[in-house]
Symmetry: C2
Subunit: 344 residues, 2 copies
């Protein structure tokens, strides 16, 4: 992605150090963070300095690789196992984390000598990052065909370059449509409680001069009802084998409203987000986050002292509300994605 | 309503002065404001220091009465007309404003001498305030019958004592159910952008020890889908003759989601909120408010500098999503409220 005219990925590795764009600082400050050990990688994922299913997947993949690269031979396998466990316990919903950690871990332990294993870990992690970029470009190319000239598109949360390694899932078709000269307009749900729409999606769109407006999550229904939205595209954190999709809290609301207003609702996600071991959305664990994400803003209390909050971070959009799932292998109906199992 | 153990109304008149609880300061600070002239009354309504359809109606009614009471005889009718125009131009959606301003104004100009007219203005305004309190109690009594023991109720925005003169519309049945010893739990939509749920509804519930949790507006669908919500009650800013209801932005979203999940959705409002001159919701004007309500928080910018926002303050919930309308005359299906025309 272009930021102030330069190209960046959301996460990458330089020598033994993992670099990320600190997503909790945007849009006010653009800062690159260095993660030099397992504790720092886990903390960055937990506190959402790096967030978005594929970006978390890449950070965790580099995390395993870093653990392998920096461990002495005597504690190599112990540290590797420790890193795997710690990373898998950071956040429960996004599937790319589980996919990449297991993939890189298994590749390392299958390699017979430790020196080769270290190189293999880095290679596997880098491969995931590079393949995610390629997948996002493909998603963009397939998805762009759905966007007609003068389309007004609603998106929820941030499924952009920041949420992936680069380019984005939901934002990839939007980027390409804009590059191809289509006249488009993006409604950006602000996405409470953490405002990834108002802060991150708006940032990406503003950097590329794509016309957009931020709206309160409450207002999406209003604009749908008034015929001002032509399609909805969001990302996903985990897709079950039957096409049910977990994504940022509020996605289910938008999907129901889209169906009620006859507006097509698309999910854009790479194959690494599909979890064929989950038969349906009911099998996907939903993370509940700290109530202070709702009760306070910039550490200033919004709510009465005695009032608690409940803060589910994701919800499940049942397949019946999803018009299509845009992947790097093409666009599929939710009940068709089971056929992708062998391709993955 | 009880605040720190004392009884308050949201708005009242003492001599020539209109007193209001400053709703922009809650829950951090409890402050009573004095409004001593037309400019101050209009500003308080515009800036939402006093808000909620019946509370705005009462403040404006007192505003007309104050203008009559404080005008010299030579400019009595000029000032009265000026006050009427200024008050009617503060906010376009809530109907009680139009209802009370016209009612008090007409009562004054029909009175033949100015001295009597001044007294009549005060009396009419006070009558509206008192009748609103009685109406809210009746709404509470009728609505309470819908609430079963162990019910978990979702409400949106603030339709409590603060939004009315006292007692509330949507919160009145909840208050009485709690007083009657029913075990209830209230899900409070935080209600972006102005957070009337997190700030005002939570404040009222906390003051009366009614169990509740604040949720992001995005999470209401999640809790409905999971079978954790038994009914929805909201207020209204204007109800059309066919039962379509304008209310705080996001109400339409909750109504659609309630229907999709087979959850009853009720509107609670006094007859003063029904506008029989609007045939349907399409005739109700929707106020758009300043984009900074979305783009900034406590005057700190959330969004990128180049990103604009769109900020509709209300939406229309079509009658087909409304299970019933709870009024001081009983509970009616939306298509039955036309029969209330002569009672009003």
């Amino acid at each position: 992605m272009k930021i102030k005219g330069n190209n960046y990925r959301s996460v990458w590795m330089e020598h033994n150090s993992i670099k990320i764009i600190d997503q909790t600082k945007l849009p006010e400050k653009f800062e690159i963070l260095e993660l030099n050990n397992l504790t720092e990688v886990c903390e960055a994922i937990l506190s959402m300095k790096v967030r978005g299913a594929p970006a978390i997947g890449a950070a965790a993949a580099f995390g395993i690789a870093q653990a392998a690269f920096t461990s002495a031979e005597s504690e190599f396998y112990t540290n590797l196992k420790k890193a795997k466990t710690a990373l898998l316990n950071t956040r429960p919903t996004a599937f790319d984390l589980f996919y990449t950690v297991n993939k890189v871990y298994n590749a390392i332990i299958k390699t017979d000598n430790i020196k080769n294993a270290r190189i293999c870990g880095l290679k596997e992690a880098q491969k995931f990052a590079d393949e995610n970029v390629e997948a996002c470009i493909k998603i963009g190319e397939y998805g762009e065909k759905l966007i007609k000239n003068n389309f007004r598109i609603l998106t929820h949360c941030n499924a952009g370059a920041l949420a992936t390694v680069d380019f984005g899932t939901a934002l990839a078709p939007i980027r390409i449509a804009h590059q191809n000269g289509k006249n488009i307009f993006v409604f950006v749900d602000e996405t409470r409680p953490r405002l990834q729409g108002a802060k991150l999606t708006a940032f990406e769109l503003a950097e590329e001069n794509i016309p957009h407006s931020i709206i309160a999550d409450n207002a999406a229904g209003y604009f749908m009802q008034n015929g001002e939205i032509d399609m909805v595209i969001t990302g996903a954190d985990r897709i079950a084998a039957n096409g049910d999709a977990a994504n940022k809290i509020g996605t289910y609301e938008k999907a129901v409203l889209a169906k009620e207003n006859n507006i097509p609702f698309y999910i854009a996600a790479p194959l690494s987000t599909i979890d064929f071991t989950c038969n349906s959305g009911e099998d996907i664990p939903i993370e509940f986050r700290d109530e202070d994400e709702i009760l306070a803003f910039n550490e200033i209390r919004i709510a009465p002292a005695k009032s608690p909050a409940k803060n589910p971070a994701f919800d499940i959009t049942p397949a019946k509300y999803i018009t299509g799932i845009i992947t790097e292998k093409g666009i599929f109906k939710p009940d068709e994605i089971i056929n992708l199992k062998e391709k993955k």
